[in-house]
């Protein structure tokens, strides 16, 4: 079918210059049907828009469910609170092009090359849309933040800090970490009044933790199934009722390796403290050598003074902290343990301990629950460049992945395909009914 179409396209080349609906439909079909990407099917599925270059707006209504309180006769009842938030966004026009030599159709290799280039366009566009879904999930408003702002409690900060410390590198700290995280999130979302989540998006490396547990790698105890499992490797499509979606790495920065959005660098800090008087050395862990190394008191002293080792040199140091420069002689006395010295504490700071860390996203995907990848106004346009002896195709389209974070059900999906007048009528009817 494709080959016939290509030949037809080639032999009618002069006729096909400019926008080409036939090829556009084929490429559209390949993108939406053939790629079957979990990001644009499970999480934020494709949703076609006839006029995507206009503003997209949506409202989120929040109705808090409260408990009725006792009310005396002839007095006012407590009013329930409600909230409306409005959001808006635009789809973005994007495009890609391919070029071929004029006479590529004369050979079967040229035909094959053309077919591969079309697939390349399809793959690239799907890749772009996948990235957009990643970014939409990352930048979507966090309901957790809203909860914090609205129900901030006195001890919340301490609890949040404790939670973060406990879950920092949790997968390496606890064998059942993923189970705990998933069940914890389910419970959290349920507490918000959300729907049971159905997908878990995480880095490919994090999936190892799900597939390499002791139960799943006990090949010897599972007989023939165990041998098959060892041969094929443990796979993981579903886990605790969640579809596992592996996040992708994208080439986002010029000249650097593709980057996984759910993998990031994090700096955290530590401090070490003890008495300075009579100090000989401090042993600290060095992650470069994976061992404890000694930091001598002379090295500490030389870090405090600009040159030499005498106290008078250090006082002239302009960058030195006042708390050091004002007391440099006393610090030296304290270090040497001279009689009558002042009691200093030594504070060692390590504020930039940096590691790569992995994250995950859990949610309920789909248009009805989370959002959509809006797209439309696609156009495959054919051009001919006689001067350079090439012809090519340009594919342009509108696209934007959006998380309508708290959107429940889009009851007026029909608005996309109906005209404005119909929308007006529907809403007028609704308003009249209200």
């Amino acid at each position: 079918m494709w080959g016939v179409g290509v030949r037809w396209c080639f032999f009618n080349w002069n006729v096909q210059q400019g926008p080409n609906q036939w090829i556009t439909d084929r490429v559209d079909g390949l993108i939406t049907d053939a790629t079957n990407s979990p990001f644009t099917t499970v999480i934020l599925p494709y949703m076609y828009m006839d006029y995507p270059d206009r503003k997209v707006e949506w409202n989120v209504w929040t109705f808090d469910q409260g408990l009725a309180s006792r009310v005396p006769y002839e007095s006012a009842a407590r009013t329930l609170t409600q909230r409306k938030q409005s959001f808006s966004g635009y789809t973005v026009r994007q495009g890609l092009a391919i070029t071929m030599e004029h006479n590529f159709m004369m050979t079967s290799q040229g035909m094959e090359n053309f077919q591969n280039q079309i697939k390349q366009v399809v793959g690239s566009i799907q890749n772009t849309n996948d990235l957009d879904v990643h970014m939409a999930l990352i930048t979507a408003p966090s309901y957790m933040k809203q909860v914090r702002e609205r129900y901030y409690l006195e001890d919340y900060l301490q609890k949040a800090l404790r939670d973060y410390i406990d879950t920092f590198g949790f997968v390496q700290k606890n064998m059942n970490a993923m189970d705990i995280l998933i069940e914890d999130t389910k419970s959290l979302i349920s507490g918000w009044g959300g729907t049971e989540p159905d997908f878990l998006m995480c880095s490919n490396k994090l999936c190892f933790q799900l597939t390499m547990t002791q139960e799943r790698t006990a090949y010897l105890t599972q007989g023939a199934d165990g041998k098959k499992l060892l041969r094929d490797g443990p796979t993981m499509d579903m886990y605790r009722g969640l579809k596992i979606v592996k996040s992708k790495a994208f080439s986002l920065d010029e000249g650097s390796a593709p980057r996984d959005i759910l993998r990031r660098r994090v700096r955290v800090g530590e401090y070490y403290t003890g008495n300075l008087s009579n100090l000989q050395s401090v042993e600290l862990y060095d992650e470069d050598s994976d061992n404890f190394e000694s930091l001598s008191v002379s090295k500490i002293w030389h870090s405090l003074v600009e040159s030499g080792s005498s106290a008078t040199d250090a006082i002239t140091s302009s960058s030195c902290l006042r708390c050091i420069s004002d007391n440099i002689a006393a610090i030296k006395n304290c270090m040497d343990g001279e009689e009558g010295h002042q009691k200093f504490s030594l504070l060692l700071l390590r504020p930039n301990i940096e590691h790569y860390m992995l994250g995950l996203v859990i949610g309920k995907g789909g248009m009805d629950h989370l959002g959509a990848t809006l797209w439309g106004q696609t156009e495959m346009s054919v051009f001919d460049d006689g001067q350079h002896g090439v012809w090519g195709m340009t594919y342009k389209y509108h696209e934007r992945a959006m998380v309508f974070n708290e959107v429940g059900v889009c009851v007026y999906v029909c608005a996309y395909v109906l005209c404005i007048c119909v929308c007006m009528c529907v809403h007028m009817c609704v308003c009249v009914m209200i």
């Binding site: 949790f170 959290l188 660098r265 070490y272 504490s345 504020p351 930039n352």
Partner: protein
């Protein structure tokens, strides 16, 4: 009603919610697994000199690449008061500064938090000096949380310092050992593999209780 209709005319696509449902269907959990060490936990010491401070500030502010500056900052403080973990490294006088505490939670009221964590004025002043001298305030850029930083490939910086693993050795052959309690927990030889995402953290060996029962005492009649 007229106003409503007019407003709607302006909006061609209005994705409206079902009023009956209130669904919050997305939750992000950051930093749940280690995937490699970048820097900042070696034995290099920052020098309190013009060039040393300048170099440190430059390395510290480069949040687009792995940290390769000096790891340790030495600050002698004239106090005998204990330091409480976590210790906020910030300017305690500045009311406008906010501090990233977790992956996406900021502390806005630093003064209130600091008063709970550090009661010693000398310590506070010293930390404020460190913060100011090393330009850790980052006034020229927005303090990003995980969601904002990950999109542009930047590192987030948490200025809440937790007590780390250390052993202070003194000239009189005594020592003071401290166990780490922060993000990374306790340090031990071999933990680098854990923080490279290739191993699980070693669980503490179960404590062995030894009790001795005197059989004679058990058979002895009560008085």
């Amino acid at each position: 009603m007229c106003v409503y209709v007019c407003a709607y005319v302006c909006v061609c696509y209005d994705l409206r919610t079902d009023n009956e449902t209130k669904q919050r269907n997305l939750h992000r959990i950051w930093d749940v697994a280690y995937d490699g060490y970048c820097g900042g936990k070696d034995m290099s010491v920052m020098k309190w000199s013009d060039s040393g401070v300048e170099e440190y500030i430059e390395k510290c502010n480069n949040v687009n690449t792995n940290f390769d500056g000096a790891s340790i900052i030495c600050v002698p403080i004239l106090t005998e008061e204990c330091f409480k973990s976590p210790m906020p490294l910030c300017n305690y006088q500045d009311k406008g500064t906010k501090l990233l505490a977790t992956s996406d939670l900021h502390i806005h009221d630093i003064q209130n938090y600091a008063s709970k964590q550090i009661s010693c004025n000398i310590t506070r002043e010293a930390l404020a000096q460190v913060h100011k001298t090393l330009q850790m305030h980052n006034d020229y850029q927005i303090v990003k949380d995980a969601c904002e930083a990950v999109g542009v490939g930047e590192t987030t910086q948490c200025r809440l310092l937790y007590k780390g693993t250390s052993n202070f050795k003194f000239k009189d052959a005594t020592n003071k050992q401290t166990f780490g309690c922060g993000h990374h927990g306790h340090d031990y030889v071999g933990v680098a593999a854990v923080r490279n995402g290739k191993s699980l953290m070693a669980a503490t060996a179960p404590h062995i209780n030894i009790s001795t029962v005197d059989s004679g005492a058990a058979s002895k009649p009560k008085a």
